[in-house]
Structures are given as structure tokens and as C-alpha cells.
């Protein structure tokens, strides 16, 4: 799952997937703006075939948060 999340983040945020780690967060990544965030959530939903609640979308503000929310759901 980690690898898939990194791939998707890499695609959407135009990052090198290898460089994504615990420090990768909305606060630190310039390309991760509110529009890219919605885009990222939509791509994660499509790839993992799930649907986030608005509360979950608002909680997934870093790579770590995304993994945490996904583990709860999957």
C-alpha cells in the first residue's frame, strides 16, 4: 500500500515517489495546494476503490495521515 500511495502522490503532486517520507506534508510541499489535495483524494479513492468522508479528506494533510486514514478504512 505504501508504494501505491507514493506512486499516486508522485503523479498528482509531480514529486519523485522515492523522496516521499514522513516529512511530506501539505505544509512543506509547494505543489500540494487545496486543489491538488482534492485531486489527490479523488485519485486515492479511484485507486483503492473507496470513498472518503469530508472529515477524512480534511484529516489527510501528510503522507503519514494518508496512510493512517487508509489503514482505518481498508
Amino acid at each position: 500500500m505504501e508504494q501505491k500511495v507514493k506512486e499516486i502522490m508522485g503523479d498528482v503532486l509531480d514529486l519523485d515517489p522515492q523522496a516521499i517520507d514522513g516529512h511530506t506534508a501539505m505544509d512543506t510541499i509547494e505543489s500540494w495546494d487545496s486543489q491538488a489535495h482534492i485531486n489527490l483524494c479523488l485519485c486515492l479513492e479511484q485507486d483503492f476503490q473507496i470513498a472518503f468522508t469530508v472529515a477524512e479528506i480534511e484529516a489527510m494533510l501528510s503522507y503519514g495521515d494518508i496512510l493512517r486514514v487508509l489503514r482505518e478504512k481498508l
Binding site: 506512486e7 499516486i8 509531480d14 486543489q35 485531486n39 485519485c43 479513492e45
Partner: protein, 629 residues
Amino acid sequence: MTADTSTLGEMRRAFQAALDAGDLVEATRSARSLLSTNPLLAAASFIRHAVDKSSPERLPLTSVRVALLSSFSIEFIHDALIALGFLDGLRVELYQAGFGQFRQEILNRDSGLYAFAPDAVVLALEGKDLVPDLYRHDVPDAADLNAAVVEAARELTNLAEAFRERSAATLLIHNFTPPTWRRLGILDGEAAPSQADLVAALNTDLGRICRESRGIHTVDYAGLVQRTGALSWYDDRMALYARAPITRGALPELGREYLKFLRALTGKTKKCLVLDLDNTLWGGVVGEEGPQGIALGPEYPGCAFIDFQRAVRGLRQRGVILAIASKNNPADVEEVFASNNHMVLRRDDFSAVRVGWNAKSQSLSEIAAHLNIAPDHMVYVDDNPAECDEVAHALPAVTVLPLPPQPEHFVRALLEPGYFDSLSMSTEDLRRAELYEQRDQAEELRAQSDSLEDFYRRLEMEVTFAPVDNSSVARAAQLTQKTNQFNVTTIRYSEAEVLERCTDPDNLVKTVRVRDRFGDNGIVGVMMAHGSGSEVEIDTLLLSCRVIGRTVETAMLAHVSEYAAQRGARRIRGRIVPTAKNAPARDLYERHGFQSDPSDSTEQAAWSLDLSTGGIQYPTWMKVVSETG
């Protein structure tokens, strides 16, 4: 199909490598496989970033500038639109207005929209944003819904007119979906008026606005949502949270719908449909089952093939040229056409037929040469994946449409991509197959003639030059959009742009109609020139490939020469902008006595003709008619 992460990684690397090498054929191939895997959205983002970073010089993509105006957040479509556009050979450059800013953007002459100088503008409005009362679940106080619809139609009319005053770009306006949930529940259908009726009335008004204006078209959003189903299309969560009402899965579909328009605008509309026969037009193999034994008739699966033949016939009625490439015994095929009463398509619906045992790519090349249609404008349909592969590799320019395994899905496979969709339907389109027949007769005459001049004389041509008017503007714009071979500059014009050119009295804008002993070829050419001081400059001169090689181009230059003489001009200038396809037009100026113009600093080949030597004369073998406006 789902691909695992490592396969996807490989496909990505292949795509990036091809892109870096400037190999568009291979890059398109890998992009297509990437986008045919799930999930599409992330792959689209990846392709978009790579295309954005690629160098425009290295990739021969057609650039198209698109502005998106919307009443909701539509920016999530960007990646899909750019990635899918890449598959069509387009570099889609986007301008995104803030959501809900569409009025200001259109009305304010200094807005970012006009500064962007778009080729096409999408006005994506949701009904509930434009006419909120009509979509509410409760009855608004003192609401007059009829009046609200009339008011909305009036606003759309005003916006369309304001836009047209400020820009000659193509405007694409979404029509409106009915409310998913009706206020009166099961009674809505018999209410007078029902909510559904009111939305339909608004859509009718929008259709009228588009019909009565130039270069403004309806995006049938309602039809698109209906095909998908409103419950699968809309995402109530994102609608309320991010003002982004369209689900992730639906965004690429909307992008594909826009691309049908963008392809038509950039001359990428397909012209010719080449079909296999066995298990494509009928079930089974005629060589084995016999002309009466093939599956074609009222019972399944024969009825599925009848359905498909009707869809093909519908395309022919729209002006698509049909051809056959089949591996069969020719006598068997002729027998099916002659004696199987269930055949919807007739032998003479096909403008070229290749039945034999050659490679399919060989047959397609022959058909392309015979019809004088570039492979880029051909779609090849076959049920056999091996044949599809052979054609796709031998002729990468041909669009290959592999049929799904079951014949009941053929109609959808043929119609869904909208390959043949165009922005207007001219008399020439409706008569196209007949026009090709005339061309064949003329070619026969050429073969029988003793000399070229003898051929020209026996053709009994009448060439008519006419100013562009309301009845011909659609055809004139269409010719600039579709003509690739005999076209000196390949400048594309929308209808509105053509009309704009006509408003300047110093511009010569003429259509060219050719009649010959075999009939009326319709409008087959367009030319535009601009007079200034002692010079006349030709910037557009094009001719349909059906009438190349008959000295019509000489008459066109003679007409410009006549115009220049009337103005008292001393010189005609013209330039050739080389493209991959316009070889037939390259020597136009040279063989008419123009001199290469070394004073011109641009890289395009510039030519000029000194009129003091007498100018260019009309060929003596044709009758020339010059109509005035």
C-alpha cells in the same frame, strides 16, 4: 484492466523515454496503454506533467488554447483533458477562470479570458447555478419558474452576443440536466409545466442561440450525464464541500466530450471509415457459411450486425466515406451484396473496396491512395486483434478501432469516440460519396485523354468565385479546418473568424465552386488575401484534394491577380508554410512565375510576383464566373 505497480512503472518509463526521444508515435502508444489501465486519474496527472515539461519544438503536437469558464470547480478536469488531448496529437493549453466568474470574464473586455487569446472557450454551467429556483427541493416563495427560464435564456443570449463582440474564438456552452430528484415526485411527469419540461425549454433556447450565431456550439452535457446516469455522474459530497459536483470517474468522459470539439476545430475529424467484413458487418465467415449462411437477420446475433450496419449507414449519410478491406474471395463478397436481402449497406455505399489476400495495411494504403485521403483521416474497424495490430504497426497514422468480442457492443464502440463528429454539416458533406464518384469519373476521363490540355477541355469546368455569405461561411470555415494537402499556410479559421475577415474592405475572401461535365463539385476552395498600398498578400489559399490537378489553383491566382490589378497594386506576395502534409501545394508560387523573396526575414518560404509583367491569366479551358456580394 488493472495492471500491477511494476507494469505501470514500466509503462511510465517507456512513455517518458519516447517523449524525451521526440518519438510521438511511441509516446502516444504508451500513453494510450497507461490511460487504458485503471486508475485513469493518476496516470492522467503523470502524463500531463510530462507533456507540460516536454519541449514544443521536439514534439509535433497541434497547440490549442482552451479557456474554461464555469459556475463550479471544473479544474479537476485539467489533467485528464491534457492527457487525453495528447492521444489526439494536441497540446491543450488551459486558462482557468475562478469558479462563478464567467459573467465578469465574458463582459469585461480586459479580462484574463481575452488576454489569453483562446481558440476555444468552454462555458460549463450547472442548471442549479444558473436557475437556482428551478432546481430547489422546496417551492421558492412567489417563484415564477417560467419567467426564471426566460430570464436565464435571455442572459445566455446576452453572454453569447457579448462574447462574439469581443472574440472570434469558438464558444462551447453546456446544456442543462434535469433535476435528479423532482419536487413533485411521481407527479412531475404530468405537471404543467414539469421541472423536466422547463429544463428542456431552456435547452431548446440554447440550441436556438447556437443555431443563430457563428462558432457557438452546444456541449450536450445533459446527454452525457444521461448516458452515464445522474447518480453515477454527480458527487454530492464534493458538490457541497468543494463546489466540484462531478465524480472522479466522470471527469475524463467530460474531457473526451470537449475533445470531440477540439479535434473538429483543429482538422482532426476523421473522413473515411474502412471496414472488415467477416464478423464485422455480418456474423461468421462468408467463405465457409456462404452468402446466405452468414449471421444477418432478425434473430440474434444477426440483428446485432443489422444494428451495426445501420450505424455505419448513418455515418455515410453524414458524409463519411466508406471503404472495405477484407480477406475474402471477391466473388463471395459480391454475392452477399447481390443476393442477401438482409444487407442494410449496399455495394455502392462503398467508395473503395479491396477484397483479396493482401495484408490489411496494404489494402488500406491502396484505399488511401485511391481516395486521396491521408491515413490520419482514416478509421479502421476489425474484429480480429491480429489484423488490428498489423495495421496499427504498419500505418500508425490510421486510427484502429478493435471491435469488442460481442456484436451487441459494436454500435457503442463505433459511435462513442465521436471520430467523425464535425461542427457543421454542409451540402458537400451530405453529397460526399456522390462527389467521390464524380471524381472517379473525371479520373477515368483523364486516363482516356490524349493530353492534359485535352483532359481539361473535355472536363468542361466552370469555376465560380463568390464572396462568403451566410450560406457558405460554414463550408468555408470547415475547408480551412479540414484541408491539409493543397493548403499553402494551413491557417485554421472558425466561422466567426471567417466573417471577421470579410468585414475589412481591403480583404479579398472568396469561395471557389467547381462544376464539370460530371456534376457540381460544390465549394472546394477558399482564398483570402489582403490589399495594402501597392501590394496584395495572399495568406490563405486552399483546395480540396478532389479537384487537385485541374488548374483550378491557376484560376485562383488569376483571380487574385485581377483583384490586385483593380486595386492598382504592383505586386502579389504569398508564402508557403511547410507541414507534413502540404507537399502538393509547395511549388504553387514557383510554377506560376513568382520569385523567391530574399528580403523576407522569416523562415517560411516567401514568394512575390511583379505585376508589371502582366499578372496571371485564367486558363482558357474553363468558364470563370465571378459573383459579387
